[in-house]
Structure formats: C-alpha cells, structure tokens
Symmetry: C2
Subunit: 500 residues, 2 copies
C-alpha cells in the first residue's frame, strides 16, 4: 500500500471511530437528559454494548498498522493529519493495554454508578453509593495499571485529562495558589464589609429563566441553530461535531443566579465546541483541547466576564426584562457585589471565585490519596468533613452537601477536578494578555461581547486540539502556565471589594 | 449442545439484538426530536452504522443455527419463547435475503430522505424531495424482491407491516368501507346542519397546551414516570421496553385541538407500549403487535373515546382550566360537535373520523400502483390531486398540503398507511365488544377512564405480540376482521349528528 492509500485508510478509520464515539455519546446524553429513571439500568447495558464496539474499532489491527505506518512517515503528513495520527495513536495504544473484558465491564458499571449516585444524592444515602464509588476507584486503578505511569499512579489519570500534567507539577501550582489566596480568604472573613445579596432568593419563574438562558447564550455568540440547552440533574456540555453542541442546565425556582452562571459556564464550553476551524470538523483535533483548557474557557465566561462590574452595567437591564418585579430594585453595582460575595460555602458549584479553588484542592488531594493507597473509600466522608473544616472552616451536616454533591467521581471521572483550578490559572494568564489587546471593560460596558469572543476564537478556539496545552499557552501568552496571574487577579478584585 | 444450552444462547442473542435495536431507535428518536437540522446528514450516517451492526447481529450464523435448532424443537418451548423464536426467525430469514450493502445503503438513505422531506415540506419544494422519494420506492422494491412475495409485489410490504395481509384482502375490506361511507359523505355534504367550530381558532399559549397534554396522558392512565412527551415536526411514538416510552407532539399557537387529538393518539400508542405483561419485557413479543393493531389502539383513544359526547362532559372543564378565557363559552355539546364536524379537508391529520378513511385509501392505491409498476414517482403529485378531486371533491393548491404532507413515505415506510384504516376497523369491532362488557358512556361521563383502560389491558395490551392479528381478533371478538362494525359506527354517529 502506498502512502496515499494508508492516508485514505486512516481517514476512513478515523471517521468510523468518531462515528461510534458520537453514537456512544449521543446515547449517554440521552441517558442523562431524557431517559426515565426506571429505564436507567437497562439503558446502561445498551450504552456499554455500543461503547464496546467503539473500543473495538479503536483497538483493531487495521488501526494499529495504519497508525504505525503513518507515525513512521509523520514528516510527510500535514499539520492536521500529523496531530490526528498522534492523538489517535496515543488513545489506541492506551486502549490496547486494557483487556476488553475490563473495558466493557467498566463501561456498564460507570453508568450504573452514576444512576446510584443520583439516587443516593437525592436521598442522602452514602451507603447506597459507597460500593459503586469503590468500583469506580478500583476499576480506574486497574485501567491505570494497564496504561502505565511514572511516579504516582495518579499521574496516569492526570496525564489522560491534561496532557503532560503530573502530581509533581500540580502540587507546586496548587501550593502557589493556596499560599497566595489563604491570607486573602482570612482577610475577607475579617473585613467589616457586608454584601447584601438577599434579592437573589425569591420565586423566579422557571420558564422565564429558560428564556433568559437562551438570551444569554445568544449574547455570548452561541449559535442556537447548531445547539441548544436541555435540562439534567447535573449541568454539562457535550458535542458531536461543530453542528450539534448540547448544554444542560438545572433550574431552581427559588433563585435565578445559578441559572445565569451555569449558562455562562456551559455556554463557554459550548462556544469552544462551536468555534474551531471547520477544516478540523470530524477529525481527532475537532473539539476542545484538554479538560483544563475546556474549564478555562467555561470559567472565563463565568468569572472573567460574568463576575465583572462592566458586564452587569450592560447585562442587568436585559435580565431585569425577564423579572421586572423581582429585580426592580437591583443596581449593576449591587449585582456585581452579590455575585462576588465571598464566604464559606458547602457546595463547590455555589462557591465564589476566591474560595472555589480550595474546594478543588480538597478533591484533588482526596483522589490522589486514594490512588496512592493512603486513603480508603470508606473513610472519604469523614475526611471530606475534616478537610472542609481545615480549608474552609465549615463542616457539612450531611453527605448530600458533602461528598455526594458532585457527579464526577460517580462517572469514574477522576483527574478531572484539577481542571477547574487549572482552568482558573489558564484563564487569568491569557485574560491578562487579552486585556492588553482588547478594551475589555469598554467592550463589556457596550455589550460588544463579539469583540471578546473574536479574540478568544482567533487565539484559542480556532485551533481545536492541534497543540498541547503548554504549546498553546506559550503561543498565546509567551510563557508556560504559572499561578501568579490568578493570585494577582483575585488579590486585586477582593482587595477592592472588601476594602482589605 | 443441549436443548437448554440452545435456549440460553437464544436468550443471549435476543437480548443483544434487541439492545442494538434500542440503540438504533434511541439515536433515531434523538435525530428527530433533538438533533439540530444542520447536523442531520452527518448523524444519519452514524445511525446507519449502528443500524448495520443491528442487522449484522440479526443475520449472524450463530443466530441462524440457534433459531433453526429451536424451530425444530418448538414443541418443547413455552408459549412466549415459541412466539419469540417464530418472530425472530421470520425477521432473520427476511434480513438474510437482503445483501448487506443494500441494507446499509438504505439505512443511510432513509434518514437523508426524511431530512430532505422536512426541508421540502417547509419550502413546498417537490423537486427537492422527488429523487429521495424515488430512492425510497426503488430501494424498498429491491428489498421486497429479496424478501419474496406471492401475487402483488406490494404484498411483501403489506405482510411485513401486518402479518397475513395482502392486496386481495385489503381491496375487499377497503371496497366495503368505501361503499359503506361514500353515500354517508354525500349526505353529510348535503345536510343543512351547520356546526360552528370557530372557537378552535384563537391564540392558545403553547406552554399551557403542554401542561394540558400531560394532564390528558395522566387521565388516560399513561405512567409519566416511564415515559414523556417531547416535540418533533411530525408526532410519533417510540419505545425501548416498558420503562421508556416516548411520545412527540407538535404544538400550534393558533389552535389547541390538534394538541388534544395528537396526545390522545400518541398516548394510545404509548399506553399500549407501557401495558404488556412485564414477563414479556425485553423479548421479541414485548411491544405492540402489528402496525394495524397499534393504530387501532391509538385511534381508539382518539376517536372512540376522544370524539364521544360523554367524554367531553367530563373532560371539557379540565381543559377549560388551562384556557379559561379562550374556552369560556364552549359547552360539552359544542365541543362534541366541533370535533366531529365532517368536511372536505386537504390534510389527513386534520380529517374527521368519517372522511379520514378516504385519505388512507388514496395513499394505499398510490403506493400499491407504484410497486405494481403502473405509476411512476414523477406522476404522484398530479395523481394525488386527481384522486383528491375524485374522493373528496377538493384539490390542494400546493404540494405542502398535498403529497408532501406526510412523513411516512420519506422514511420508506410503505405499507403502513393501510394500518390507519385497519386500525379503524379493528377498533370498531372490538369496541362493540367492549361496550357490551363495560358501561362505556357511564365510565366516560364519570371520568372513570381506568375502567376502559383496564378492559383494553386485559383483552389486548397484555398480550404484546404473542398472537397474530387474526388470532387476537378472534380471541377478543369471536370473529375475523370485517368492515361492517366501522360502517355501522360511522353511520350511527353521523346520521344522528347531521340529522340524515
């Protein structure tokens, strides 16, 4: 077979593999957002079957031979094909190290565990969930052992989520974050400044919230003809190519701010998935880069935009149009202060921009310690409470607002939590650059969100997964990731707000 | 291998096959109800891939050997397994006669054709759709040639939709229907009775209509924890076992009656899929019997219940609660008359109970004639208009309200239209029996819909697909299908209503 024939074959295999991946992911989306609870377990088995087929295509001999040939002839490949071959070979090599039975069993158990978590969270029933979580850790550890790793076993999972990431690097970055913000957290707690955000707790009609969410998405530049928002217990975003990007939201009828920030967050993920170059669509590099980079774009819209004073000068009247009665006395400054009120919260999803990072560090340490064998699953609820006490000074009274609050572990999604804090760091670093090149406050004040979207698209989104995170950061900001921009950003903001 | 080993293997194969079928159908559902239009074509290819895998399982050597063995040993099988083996062998034999390439190509073309139809209907663009419809006829004809048939080639498709059905039987039944109702249609047209249904055309809030639809479903006995209503261009029902039954509706903001009758119709399908014995769940006989029997249960709720005077005595106040202003002057008698107003309508979906059958006979004749080679696809729009003129005395001004109105052909769903008229006949026949055993009008008047649901469940729903349609009809009514009950029912109703 000639080089061109190998390349054609590669394109076919890539297409088939990504089609199966889409099939699995559409089914998973449906399972979360649409399937009646009573059918959850039966459907989990169906998804397991399709996922097994996806894995079979990835691991096929044909795939291996084609990838091996093209890896040897990488210098003849264009930039996009070269990146796709590299990523597919990485995934193929990793998958082939895992026995088929282990993979298939895990795929079914993941969905069952997630279903158990949902029930356990609803009924505050840790014992119901514990064996499933135990499964998730055990199976993930077995997968890691198959994949191989250097140093901590947890590095296998970190590197899977964020190419090049290790506990060594992360321990350093997180230490800088913690050292930088802990004094700030104490000063905020001691500040006499009181922020009144009582307006956020009222009845807010859910249908109006849904309309508001669509308005926000359109303002951000999200194309509603190539995606939409549905509802699920735990909001998330998924995409099947550039033209089908789906967000979910979760509405509360007694407050409206979670819907605003979930829309900004998931909308940020969605924008990323709608904005890479169309030439990358349907390839391995069509889609966001790593989870850290993905969380950076989502938390950019949530924090850098959505928690900025100038944003609310533009956006508040638009939101008031949906709740004229409920929000009639709120001012942009009042809104700005309310959404930046810092305090000790039990729930990560409701944490402010400052303390959020401590919620992440807590989770990071717990999962690292389980994988390194220092901690057992049965002890996690207790350790959760101890760390909450130590880092945030509060202790959850139950597990619903403790260890059961997050979906990620239930899906076997370990190594993912650090992405949120990494995202905050990426964010602060490239936002510093953005603010040099674009009149950020001016654009927000005038509602010219397009200027901000365009900068992000031209500097980040368009590349999809062509580069590694480090390559991309150096391309955009001229340097590798550092915690200092995040610490600077938080110090500036909270010093002003709390008159520290 | 022992008998028991063969049986175990059969259960495994049946489970795997049905799992793949569920996967395909969940993806199809998502494609219709959720996928953004711009992603339609790409997703159609994905569904084609999954559907090919489903077909591969059905046609596997392992399946053939297991089915052959158990067919030989059918006398040792219990009733359910025997029925499952028979149905799976029928489907396996039929599928194996079709070359894999033909099947796979068809699966992709079906979804593309449906997407083209949707666009063509929206823009009244027959030429856009014509080549796709030509494909549907051509590929279906090729499939039929593979399957084999006796008499008319169309019999292959009729028998596929309705076991045992042929053009010979159907020509006779439809002649009886036409002869029975044509004089009635003329008399109604000449009747001086005028029914005022102007109240139906007003603004009706869509969110209120959605709430009304859920209320109606709950009243019918549909379990909303095992299914739900979404929206799609063309309403339909699909199910993945007893615990995940999905309906779609299509809401119009300028009238509310379509939402009522679509809910009753699709809810009828849904009830059937939720009500077979749980012991049949996950087997070949878990699910409605044939398309004709399915349309009988849907049109039972739509016509026998929903177009009955006593029903509106109970239901009107409940619906008025959603539209107190819009419906304040409507009486149960006025509602009864409005929903039974007979006239010449262009759209099948909006036709009254009497003329509906003529819409079906028109479609039946056209598809039969294409398959028998007497008519060409390019001539269908003209022939449609000619037949509308001949049977109903009106001619559509465009194709949107003519040949483009229905989804079925676009999906290659031929042989299905007769099911609606068969459904009307089954319906009238077993409703005559039901009315002997249950105080039908009394139950409706008191809102005791459960009494009606229970009779249907105990006599029809519970059996799933255990029997052939003829066996079931004889079991329930003591005789084979005849047109006379339908003609009697319509004559009685319209003679009274129009004072003939």
């Amino acid at each position: 077979m000639t080089f061109q024939e190998h390349l054609d074959r590669f394109h076919q295999l890539q297409h088939t593999y990504l089609s199966w991946r889409d099939a699995t992911q559409v089914l998973s989306w449906d399972w979360r957002a649409m399937t009646p609870k009573k059918a959850s377990t039966a459907r989990a088995d169906v998804i397991g079957l399709v996922s097994a087929k996806e894995n079979e295509v990835l691991c096929s001999e044909d795939m291996v031979k084609t990838l091996d040939y093209l890896t040897e002839h990488a210098d003849q490949l264009g930039e996009v094909d070269r990146a796709c071959v590299r990523l597919l070979k990485r995934d193929c090599d990793r998958a082939r190290r895992v026995p088929v039975e282990l993979f298939n069993e895990f795929a079914v158990l993941q969905h069952r565990s997630e279903a158990a978590w949902e029930e356990a969270k609803r009924t505050d029933n840790w014992p119901l969930y514990a064996p499933h979580l135990e499964n998730m850790f055990t199976y993930t550890r077995r997968m890691m052992d198959c994949w191989g790793y250097e140093g901590s076993p947890y590095n296998a999972m970190l590197g899977y989520c964020e190419e090049g990431m290790t506990t060594e690097i992360l321990d350093g970055l997180f230490r800088d974050v913690r050292d930088g913000i802990t004094p700030l957290v104490s000063k905020v707690a001691a500040s006499p400044v009181e922020i009144d955000d009582s307006f956020r707790f009222q009845r807010f009609d859910v249908e109006q919230q849904k309309k508001m969410a669509n308005m926000l998405l359109a303002e951000m530049g999200f194309d509603l003809t190539r995606g939409f928002i549905a509802e699920s217990e735990h909001p998330y975003t998924t995409s099947f190519g550039l033209d089908d990007v789906r967000l979910t939201n979760h509405y509360h009828d007694d407050q409206f701010i979670p819907a605003v920030f979930t829309t900004l967050h998931e909308g940020g993920h969605g924008l990323y998935e709608q904005s890479y170059d169309r030439s990358l669509n349907g390839t391995m590099v069509g889609g966001g880069l790593t989870s850290g980079m993905h969380e950076s774009v989502s938390r950019f819209w949530e924090n850098i935009v959505g928690r900025d004073r100038a944003f609310w000068e533009y956006m508040l009247p638009k939101i008031q149009a949906y709740f004229p009665q409920e929000l009639k006395d709120v001012t942009p400054e009042g809104m700005y202060r309310a959404v930046n009120k810092s305090g000790r919260s039990l729930l990560r999803m409701e944490a402010d921009e400052l303390t959020y990072n401590l919620h992440i560090i807590l989770r990071y340490e717990l999962e690292r310690d389980v994988f390194e064998g220092r901690v057992q699953v049965k002890d996690l609820p207790r350790l959760w409470k101890e760390k909450m006490e130590a880092y945030l000074g509060i202790v959850p009274a139950d597990d619903r607002t403790g260890i059961l609050q997050d979906i990620q572990w239930s899906m076997g999604q370990f190594g993912y939590f650090p992405a949120y804090a990494l995202g905050n760091m990426y964010n602060a670093q490239y936002s510093a650059r953005l603010k040099k090149e674009v009149d950020f406050e001016g654009a927000l004040r005038q509602g010219n969100l397009a200027a901000i979207y365009n900068w992000k698209r031209d500097n980040l989104y368009r590349y999809g997964a062509l580069y590694t995170p480090d390559e991309l950061m150096r391309k955009v900001t001229g340097e590798s990731l550092s915690a200092k921009y995040l610490v600077e950003h938080l110090t500036r903001k909270f010093t002003e707000l709390y008159e520290l």
